[in-house]
Subunit: 154 residues, 2 copies
DNA sequence: TACAATATTGTAATCATTACAAATAAAGAG
DNA sequence: CTCTTTATTTGTAATGATTACAATATTGTA
């Protein structure tokens, strides 16, 4: 079964009418698990859907959020990012390449005594810093005597 | 020693010249650990500093962030919130009263194998939902047959 | 086909934040 | 205490992501 079909299925399971636009937006999110922004989704789909409006992308993502098909990524850097992976997991934001990485947070299922009796509806864990790739690239620059801002501790 | 004095001391320790405005903004953050926004700080200090400009509050907070005197609160709800408590801790955002609660996250000092070799500069944990008070207030409404949106699971 | 409900679109408004240049205040030299 | 330089503060305008809203197009149903 291809992605378009799984998108249709997912939409129907969640009682969303599978319009062309919705199918494509969801399929894009499923095949590009890079936590895209509205702008990214819009630009990526424009060739296929030339009449697409950015408002529709906003509307559709709001709908998906309401139906819990996608989750917002808790990385507060300019635009909002969206994630079709609705499992609880953490995100690492690299401030150099601006990529967003996933990591597991199962260990986080620990007690939070201060929140006893609170109704916890969403958990959000994000770290930020410099990813491995960007550190390596920077090391080369350092060899050439360029300096690196930022430190190891947190 | 009063708050103004500790603010001055803190500024000097961090090589920030202790101007009146800076002292007041820092003192406000120290005495009001409610994670205020620029707008809140501005409105609160306006009576004491009638010439205060909102731009100055923005500038000052940027300076404090750069010097690591304050941290941004990773709650992405409209405006940015600031925290003079720079220890690592988590935040709970209540979507009803919009208050932000602190909780301890020492347990989170766990391995994240996916991030091996990454330079982690900031850790951010926030949960959201409904706080204890708001749940209680709502229970009263429920008794009067008003319904409550949202559920217990996360 | 005709009608009603739903989905999409384009434009304008909102609003927090940033850019920037002018005005003010403080520091330092003589 | 002046003059000069530097740092701070201020007001206004620009930016940019998001939202509001009304018009248009599409779809489902009879
Ligand atoms: Mn993810
Ligand atoms: Mn806090
Ligand atoms: Zn990177
Ligand atoms: Zn509450």
């Amino acid at each position: 079964m291809n992605v378009l079909d799984s998108a249709v299925k997912l939409l129907q399971e969640n009682e969303i009418r599978p319009s062309l636009t919705r199918i494509h937006i969801l399929a894009y999110l499923l095949t590009n698990p890079v936590h895209p922004t509205v702008e990214q989704i819009y630009q990526a789909l424009l060739p296929q859907i030339p009449t697409l409006s950015k408002t529709t992308v906003y509307n559709t993502l709001d709908l998906f959020l309401a139906k819990k098909l996608v989750k917002p990524v808790g990385v507060e850097y300019k635009e909002k990012h969206y994630d079709a992976n609705t499992q609880n997991h953490g995100h690492f934001f690299c401030r150099v390449c601006e990529k967003i990485f996933d990591f597991d947070t199962h260990y986080i299922e620990t007690e939070t005594p201060e929140l006893k009796g609170f109704q916890i509806e969403a958990k959000n864990v994000y770290y930020s810093g410099v990813c491995l790739d960007c550190r390596h690239k920077n090391k080369h620059k350092e060899d050439k005597n360029e300096k690196f801002e930022g430190n190891q501790d947190c």
